[in-house]
């Protein structure tokens, strides 16, 4: 691989003139990963030296770490055949004609507006929502809330950024967090000041562009004391990408008395390996809630976790996974009780159809001294036919006696009696089955903002079509 030029034009520009124009620098995208590529990414982004070093250190860790030997089969990932950084204009090479018909059809059925379709399909780099975003941005700015893409945040708020970045999920956490740390690009950065409650959900959607939707997004959310924010990422419409690997890292800090809710609806096209590390630190009387829905991708491995660091901290994971033909959703949650009187719940709902496989994988860990800790884990699996699979791997590691830990798991099939009952009222079979599935995930759907809930139900309906007969 050719060595990238090391002339530091960008840095000079920034220091001398206070602006820079990286777009004018011709970056030739290459496949594969090495130190030069990482340096080049950092250079392209005009990053401070500490970030360049952080990336290089992460790359070393990535190279040393073995692939996980548990969970889904990841052996087909070819790290040498991936573009690790593409500028937006490079991503726009595709035309609408290249988008698979089934994706186009789903856009039709969901009624996704024209402008959004092109964006979601990766044909357009920017979804035209700047106006909406701009007014929202001003309102937030008045309250001192920072809501930016992560690259911009590093430039505009370097000190705040450095204080928290990489503190919740260090590069060495796992092979894919190391990879993300080396090549991350895009994602969201949110800071909510003390006592500020953000009353409308913040959606990446408002300021979405190709960069944010990249393969290696990095999101960092800091909720200062007694604040509240609800962040929503993703959307129910399928996101088409030719990139086969999506490996994001999400770090959240919830300080004393604050509450953060992070909602994800993931619907990647079914060629994607979706390997995401999400973790939050919750301090005294703070609440962290992960609401996590996984419909798309070929393989998803994702276990949102909460470290309950101080007394009274509370963690919730509510997740839904839907796996159809050729899909494996390996999802769950992790709750780590470090302090006394901390509570956690994990509720996992999974649906497998047409040979799909869903796995619940969860860990509840209680450290010595975390007395009075309470944890409850509930996983329910629904199988739509005989060749679909569901399995459960609940781990509990408890080093404290004075704790309450509960676990409950059910596996059921769509029952003939339920179908017969609904059909006896004139409801056709496919609609009856969809109703049962929507009823099954209702505890999840009801936590979503209305428009997402409606879309999710419609999406389930589309997924269910042709699954019966």
């Amino acid at each position: 691989m050719a060595t990238a030029p090391k002339i530091d034009i960008g840095q000079d520009y920034k220091e001398k003139y206070g602006f820079f124009v990286p777009e004018e620098y011709v970056f030739k995208a290459k496949r594969g990963l090495n130190e030069d590529v990482v340096r080049e990414i950092s250079f392209m982004k005009q990053e401070p030296e500490w970030m360049t070093k952080f990336r290089l250190r992460s790359l070393q860790i990535f190279n040393k770490k073995a692939m996980p030997t548990w969970g889904a089969d990841l052996s087909v990932i070819d790290f040498d055949n991936i573009f690790y950084y593409l500028k937006a204009q490079d991503k726009q090479g595709k035309s609408w004609d290249d988008i698979p018909d089934d994706i186009k059809k789903t856009f039709d059925r969901l009624g996704v507006p024209e402008a959004e379709r092109k964006f979601l399909a990766g044909v357009a780099a920017q979804y035209e929502s700047e106006v909406v975003y701009h007014s929202l941005h001003e309102e937030l700015a008045k309250k001192g809330v920072i809501f930016l893409d992560t690259d911009t945040a590093l430039r505009e708020h370097p000190d705040l950024f450095k204080e928290y970045f990489g503190t919740v999920i260090p590069p060495g956490d796992n092979k894919f967090s190391a990879l993300n740390s080396a090549v991350w690009s895009g994602g969201s950065f949110i800071y909510v000041p003390k006592g500020v409650k953000v009353d409308i959900p913040l959606q990446a959607y408002f300021r979405i562009n190709a960069e944010n939707m990249g393969q290696f997004e990095r999101t960092l959310i800091i909720c200062d004391e007694d604040s509240f924010v609800h962040y929503i990422e993703g959307c129910t419409a399928p996101i088409y990408t030719t990139d086969s690997l999506h490996s994001a890292v999400v770090e959240i800090i919830v300080k004393k008395g604050a509450r953060c809710r992070y909602t994800t609806i993931q619907n990647w096209s079914t060629n994607v390996y979706n390997l995401v590390t999400k973790r939050a630190m919750a301090y005294a009387d703070a609440t962290m809630e992960w609401v996590d829905g996984n419909l798309g991708s070929q393989i998803t491995m994702k276990y949102p976790s909460v470290y309950l660091m101080e007394p009274g901290a509370k963690g919730d994971v509510l997740s839904v996974a839907f796996a159809g033909t050729g899909q494996h959703q390996d999802a769950g949650g992790k709750m780590v009780h470090v302090a006394p009187n901390t509570t956690s719940t994990i509720t996992s709902k999974s649906i497998s159809k047409a040979g799909g496989r869903t796995s619940y994988r969860g860990l509840v860990k209680v450290y010595p001294g975390a007395h009075g800790a309470k944890s409850f884990v509930k996983c329910d699996a629904l199988l739509l036919d005989d060749n679909s699979i569901s399995d459960t791997y609940p781990y509990i590691e408890c080093d404290e006696n004075d704790v309450t830990i509960g676990h409950e798991a059910t596996v059921s099939k769509v029952s003939d009696e339920q179908l017969f009952y609904l059909m006896s009222r004139g409801i056709p079979l496919s609609e009856a089955e969809t109703m049962i599935v929507n009823g099954f995930i209702e505890p999840f759907t009801k936590e979503l903002p209305l428009e997402y809930a409606v879309e999710l139900n419609r999406l389930i309906q589309l997924e269910m079509e042709g699954s019966v007969g």
Partner: protein, 266 residues
């Protein structure tokens, strides 16, 4: 020709023949009662008419609106105008009664889901519900609950009749609607059914006990024993059964007929 004709219906469950040739004519405007002891084939009859997949039709047919019902899926039968009030209504978590009722009504109006203009409006829906809820002594909160989830025995049966009132079938089969009901619930349910009686509705009440027939007076009574109808006639047959039970046909349960209240629940 009657509106609803059961012709020599033979049905098996797991290889055993339960109904051994049943014939019955029901016209709209009539109320028929099929009475029988345990194991006589009452549930098999109701489930087969509606098309439960667990019952195997061995012979015969059921003519309704020029079609053989037995060849149709349950939802198609329902949309033709058949209704079954379940003995044991099924719980479906996560779906509200309101959503369920609306979906069922829309399935009838617009089965393909292609013409939204045919669907029921919220205003129409509320108007349709209001009267029926009052008759059945039910309140709105019931609409927000999940289908039959956590319902008492009485609430379940009232909900069955409420659905019937909303869906306006032409032939309604009431499967042991009185079982598990206290006397007040039987009254409310019967009152609601009586209000629906009229020239457009044929009713088939399937019951073990004569009690419900004191409130919903049948025009015809048929006695089902061991998979066959052994006696048909007017309401006087119910009175006779009240006295003697099913003993004369070799059934063992005469005492239970009179003591019908023994399985009451709230």
């Amino acid at each position: 020709m009657a509106d609803f004709e059961i012709r020599d219906l033979r049905v098996g469950v797991e290889g055993r023949e339960i109904l051994k040739g049943i014939s019955l004519d029901i016209d709209r405007g009539e109320v028929h009662a099929v009475m029988g002891p345990n194991g006589s084939g009452k549930s098999t009859l109701s489930h087969t008419l509606m098309g439960h997949p667990g019952y195997e039709v061995l012979g015969g047919e059921v003519r309704f609106k020029g079609q053989n019902l037995l060849e149709l899926a349950p939802d198609v039968r329902a949309r033709l105008g058949l209704y079954l009030a379940f003995q044991y209504p099924v719980v479906v978590p996560g779906i509200t009664m309101a959503n369920f009722l609306r979906t069922a009504l829309n399935a009838r109006r617009d089965p393909d889901g292609k013409d939204r203009s045919k669907q029921i409006t919220p205003k129409e829906f509320r108007a349709l519900l209001k009267d029926q809820l009052d008759v059945l002594r039910m309140d709105d909160s019931f609409l927000r609950r999940y289908i039959n989830d956590g319902f008492s025995g009485g609430e379940k049966k009232r909900a069955e009749i409420l659905q019937m009132a909303m869906l306006k079938p032409e032939i309604a089969v009431l499967d042991e609607t009185d079982s598990g009901l206290d006397i007040d619930s039987i009254k409310f349910v019967s009152e609601a059914v009586n209000r629906l009686r009229g020239p457009d509705l044929g009713v088939l009440i399937i019951t073990h006990y004569t009690r419900i027939l004191e409130y919903i007076k049948p025009d015809f009574v048929h006695v089902l024993v061991n998979g066959r109808i052994v006696l048909s006639g007017g309401p006087e047959i119910a009175d006779r059964l009240e006295q003697t039970g099913y003993a004369e046909w070799g059934a063992q349960e005469e005492a239970a007929v009179a003591a019908g209240a023994s399985e009451v629940e709230a």
